[in-house]
C-alpha cells in the first residue's frame, strides 16, 4: 500500500479527484469530435476513459487515510468565482468516498452494457458522450465542497439524462391522467423529470444563497458546517432554508409525495439511463441531505426529522403497495426505488450515526442492486419487446442466465441478509428505533414498524414479480421466437454487480469502514451525540 | 408672469396629443398628434429655462435638439407610412376600397 501511495503522490492535492471528475467530460468532448462512423473507436474511447476514471478513483480510495475519515482529504481549494467567494473546493471524506466509487464503477458497467445494447436510434456516439457527461456531474457532486460547485454538478446531470430519456426512451404512446391526448412515454417522462428536478433545485439554490448571506458570505461547505454546528442559523430563516433544501433534495431522492416523476422516468428511460438514474442520480438527493442539510442546519434537521420519518414510512409502504399493483416490470422496479429510498431517508431522519450509516450503505446497496435490476429488466424488455408481466413468464426456461440473475437480484432487493440490501434496511430500522434523543420517539417507532411491515410487502411484490416473470411455463407466444439470453457484454456488466452485492452483504466494513468515523463525527458535531 | 399657466398648458397639450394618438385612425394624423406632444415638452423646457433664468440656456438648447430629433422622426415615420401604403397598394386591393379608405 505504501508503495502505491508513493507512486501516485502527485494525485494528491486535488489532482486525483479533479481528474476523476473531469476526465469523463474531456473524453465526452473527444467522443463528440470523433466521426460518427468510427463506432468502435468511440466505444473504446468511452470505455477506456471510464475505466481510467474508475482506476483513478480506486487510487484515490487507496490514498485516502481511513484513520481520518472524518476529514476532507485529497482535495484542494482553488479560486473560482471571486466576486461571490465561491471556490473550486473539492475533497472527499468517508461519506463521499463510497459514493464516488459507486459512481465511477457503475459508469464503467453502463458503458460496457451500451457496447451492444442501445435502443433506437442507436448512435453510440451520442449515448457515450451523454453517459460521460453524466459521470462528470455525478462524480462532481460527490466531491464538491462548495455549495455553488455542488449545485452546478447537481444540475449538470439533468441535461444528459433528459436527452437519454427523450431520445433513446420508450416510444410507445400512453395516456396521461389530466391530459386529453395520448403522449409518447419518453417525451412525457423526460420533461416531467426535468421540470420536477429543476423545480426542486431552483429553490435549493435560493436556500444556498440564504446560507451564504446569513453565514460569513461563504459557500464553503466545511466552513458552513462549522458555522451551522455552532448555531449560526436559527429561527424562521433556518426553517425556510431547510424547507427549500428539503424540496431540492427530496425531489431527487425522491420522497413521497414528490416521487411521481420517478416511475415515469424509469419506465421510459433506456436501460442504461434507468441504471444510472436509479444507481446514482437518486443518491445525489440523499447525499445532499447528509452532506449539506443535516450538518449545516442541525437544529432544523431535528425539527424536520419526524416529518421526514413519516414521509419515509409512507414512502416505504406506498411504494411497496404501488408495486403490487403494477403490471409493467420496469415500473414495478421504479416504485420499488421509492420504497428503498424511503429506508434511506428513514435512516437519515433518525439523525443517529447508526441511521446515517445505514442510509449510506443503503444508498450504495440500492445503487448496486436496483442498478442491476434495471439492467436485467431493460435487457428483458429488449428481448421480449414487452414489459408486461402478464405476457412474460417462464423466463427461467427461456433465458436461464437472465432469469437466475433476476432471482438473485430480487432476493438482494428484498433485503436478504448476507446481501447488500439487508444492511440498509435493517440498520435504518435500528436507527429509527432509537432516534436522536429529543426526537419524538413514538413517531419514529411507528415509522420503524411501518418500515418493518414494508419489508414484508417488499418481499411480497418481488416474489410475486418473480413468480409472474421467472417461474411457470412460458407463454405460447414465445415458443417459436428466438430469444437471446444474456451475452458476454451483458454478463460483463452484471457479474461485477452481483459480486459487489455479495461482498458488501458479507463484509459491510467495505462501506462502514469508510463511513463510520465520518458519520460519527458528523453526528457529534451537529447534534452533540 | 407666473410659470404655472404655461406648465399646465403644456400638460394639456401633452394630453391632447395623447388623445390624438389614441383616437386617430390615420397614421399621418397620429404623427401630427405626436408633434403636439413633443411641442408640449418644448414648452416645458423653454418655460423652465425662463423660470430658472438659466444662464447656460440649457432648456432652450435641449428644445432645439428636440426639434431636430422630431424632424428626423417625422422623416422616418413618413418613410414607414409610405412603405406601408405602397405595400398595401401592391397587395391587390380594388380601387373602391382604396378610395373609401
Amino acid at each position: 500500500m505504501e508503495i502505491v501511495t508513493n507512486n501516485f503522490e502527485f494525485l494528491e492535492n486535488g489532482l486525483g479527484i479533479t481528474l476523476v471528475v473531469f476526465l469523463p467530460l474531456l473524453s465526452a468532448l473527444v467522443v463528440a469530435l470523433l466521426p460518427k462512423k468510427q463506432e468502435l473507436l468511440i466505444k473504446l474511447t468511452a470505455l477506456g476513459s471510464s475505466l481510467i476514471t474508475f482506476i483513478l478513483s480506486v487510487i484515490v480510495a487507496i490514498q485516502f487515510d481511513y484513520s481520518k475519515a472524518e476529514q476532507f482529504q485529497l482535495g484542494n481549494k482553488l479560486s473560482w468565482i471571486e466576486a461571490i467567494n465561491s471556490n473550486y473546493e473539492i475533497g472527499i471524506d468517508g461519506i463521499s468516498l463510497p459514493m464516488l466509487l459507486l459512481s465511477t464503477f457503475i459508469t464503467v458497467l453502463a458503458i460496457i452494457y451500451s457496447f451492444e445494447h442501445l435502443p433506437e436510434p442507436k448512435s453510440p456516439k451520442g449515448m457515450m458522450a451523454l453517459i460521460l457527461i453524466l459521470e462528470t456531474g455525478m462524480n462532481g457532486t460527490f466531491v464538491a465542497l462548495d455549495l455553488i460547485l455542488f449545485f452546478v454538478f447537481f444540475e449538470l446531470v439533468l441535461l444528459p439524462m433528459y436527452f437519454m430519456i427523450g431520445i433513446w426512451g420508450d416510444k410507445t404512446m400512453r395516456s396521461v391522467a389530466g391530459l386529453k391526448n395520448e403522449v409518447e412515454t419518453r417525451l412525457y417522462a423526460s420533461i416531467k423529470f426535468f421540470v420536477f428536478t429543476l423545480f426542486g433545485s431552483a429553490f435549493m439554490l435560493l436556500g444556498f444563497l440564504g446560507l451564504y448571506f446569513r453565514g460569513a458570505k461563504t459557500f464553503s461547505i466545511p466552513e458552513l458546517i462549522e458555522l451551522g454546528t455552532s448555531g449560526a442559523f436559527t429561527g424562521t430563516f433556518a426553517t425556510l432554508v431547510f424547507a427549500v433544501l428539503f424540496l431540492g433534495f427530496a425531489v431527487k431522492v425522491p420522497m413521497w409525495p414528490l416521487h411521481t416523476w420517478l416511475p415515469d422516468a424509469h419506465t421510459a428511460a433506456p436501460t442504461v439511463g434507468s441504471v444510472l438514474l436509479a444507481a446514482i442520480l437518486l443518491k445525489l438527493g440523499s447525499y445532499g441531505f447528509v452532506r449539506i442539510a443535516l450538518p449545516i442546519l442541525p437544529e432544523q434537521a431535528q425539527a424536520w426529522a419526524p416529518a421526514i420519518a413519516i414521509l419515509s414510512a409512507i414512502g416505504i409502504i406506498y411504494g411497496s403497495l404501488a408495486c403490487l399493483a403494477q403490471t409493467d416490470l420496469k415500473r414495478l422496479i421504479a416504485f420499488s426505488s421509492v420504497g428503498h429510498m424511503g429506508f434511506v431517508m428513514l435512516g437519515i431522519s433518525s439523525l443517529t450515526s447508526i441511521g446515517i450509516n445505514a442510509a449510506i450503505i443503503g444508498m450504495v446497496a440500492h445503487g448496486v442492486i436496483t442498478g442491476l435490476l434495471f439492467f436485467l429488466s431493460g435487457s428483458m424488455a429488449h428481448t421480449y419487446h414487452t414489459r408486461d408481466m402478464g405476457r412474460l413468464g417462464g423466463n427461467m426456461k427461456l433465458l436461464p442466465k437472465t432469469g437466475g440473475l433476476l432471482a438473485f437480484t430480487a432476493m438482494a432487493s428484498l433485503g436478504l441478509p448476507g446481501l447488500a440490501g439487508f444492511w440498509g434496511e435493517f440498520m435504518a430500522l435500528l436507527g429509527a428505533y432509537n432516534p436522536l434523543p429529543g426526537l419524538n420517539i413514538t413517531i419514529f417507532r411507528t415509522s420503524m414498524v411501518a418500515g418493518a411491515i414494508g419489508t414484508v410487502l417488499t418481499a411480497g411484490y418481488l416474489l410475486w414479480m418473480l413468480q409472474r416473470v421467472n417461474l411457470g411455463e412460458p407463454n405460447d407466444e414465445w415458443k417459436d421466437k428466438k430469444l437471446h439470453d444474456a451475452d458476454a457484454y451483458e454478463l460483463a456488466a452484471w457479474i461485477p454487480l452481483v459480486i459487489l452485492t455479495i461482498l458488501i452483504g458479507v463484509f459491510p466494513k467495505l462501506i462502514f469502514g469508510s463511513t463510520n468515523d465520518a458519520v460519527i463525527s458528523l453526528v457529534t458535531k451537529a447534534f452533540g451525540g | 408672469m407666473s410659470a404655472q399657466p404655461f406648465l399646465i398648458a403644456a400638460a394639456g397639450l401633452f394630453s391632447i396629443g395623447i388623445y390624438g394618438i389614441l383616437v386617430r385612425r390615420n397614421v399621418v394624423m397620429v404623427l401630427l398628434s405626436i408633434e403636439l406632444i413633443l411641442n408640449a415638452v418644448n414648452i416645458n423646457f423653454v418655460v423652465f429655462n425662463a423660470m430658472l433664468g438659466d444662464a447656460l440656456l440649457q432648456g432652450q438648447i435641449f428644445t432645439i435638439f428636440i426639434i431636430t430629433i422630431a424632424a428626423a422622426e417625422v422623416g422616418i415615420g413618413l418613410a414607414i407610412v409610405l412603405m406601408l401604403f405602397r405595400n398595401r397598394k401592391t397587395a391587390n386591393i380594388d380601387e373602391f376600397d382604396l378610395l373609401k379608405w
Partner: protein, 172 residues
C-alpha cells in the same frame, strides 16, 4: 407685468383650442393647418419667454419643413381631403378620453404641487450666447444628432423608395 400675463393667457388658451382642433377635426387638411397654428402660437409664446432663437427654429423647421412633409404624407397616402367620418376610431374615444384626462390630471397635479409659486423673469437672451454654448458645451450631442439626421435620411429614402426588385421574403 399684467399685460404680459393677459397675453400669455390668451396665447395659451389659443394654443389649447387649436391643438384640440388638431386631434378632433375630421378633415385631414384642417388638422394639418391647425398644427401650423399650434406651432405658430408656440413660437409666439417662446418669444414671450424671450426664447427668440427657439421660436425662429420652430417657425423655420416645423412650419417651414415638417408641415410640408406632413402635407406630402397626407397626399401621397391619398387620405381623403374632405370631411371623413372614419378618421377617428370611435371605439377608442371614451377610453382615450379617460387616459388623456388622467395624464393631464397627474401632470398638472405635479405642476401645481411643485412649481406653484414660480415666477418667470424675462431677461432676453442673445442668440450669440446660445450658439456659443451649443458649439462648446454641447458640441458632442450636436455632432451626434447629425448622425441621427443622416440615418433618418438614408433609411427614410431606402424605405420610401419605389422598389421593383422586392419579392416575397417570407422565408427570411
Amino acid at each position: 407685468m399684467e399685460a404680459l400675463d393677459i397675453i400669455s393667457y390668451f396665447l395659451l388658451l389659443g394654443l389649447l383650442l387649436v391643438s384640440v382642433k388638431v386631434v378632433t377635426t375630421s378633415n385631414v387638411i384642417h388638422a394639418a393647418i391647425s398644427l401650423v397654428f399650434t406651432l405658430a402660437i408656440t413660437a409666439a409664446t417662446f418669444l414671450l419667454l424671450s426664447a427668440e432663437f427657439v421660436a425662429l427654429v420652430i417657425v423655420l423647421v416645423y412650419i417651414g419643413a415638417v408641415i410640408v412633409l406632413f402635407l406630402f404624407g397626407i397626399m401621397i397616402t391619398r387620405a381623403p381631403l374632405g370631411q371623413n367620418a372614419e378618421l377617428d376610431n370611435d371605439k377608442n374615444k371614451s377610453l382615450a378620453l379617460v387616459v388623456s384626462l388622467s395624464i393631464f390630471v397627474i401632470f398638472s397635479y405635479v405642476m401645481f404641487n411643485t412649481f406653484d409659486s414660480q415666477i418667470i423673469v424675462t431677461t432676453g437672451t442673445s442668440t450669440e450666447l446660445l450658439g456659443e454654448i451649443l458649439l462648446s458645451r454641447f458640441v458632442f450631442p450636436f455632432e451626434v444628432v447629425s448622425f441621427v439626421l443622416l440615418a433618418a435620411l438614408i433609411g427614410g429614402i431606402t424605405l420610401a423608395r419605389q422598389d421593383n426588385a422586392l419579392v416575397d421574403e417570407n422565408q427570411i
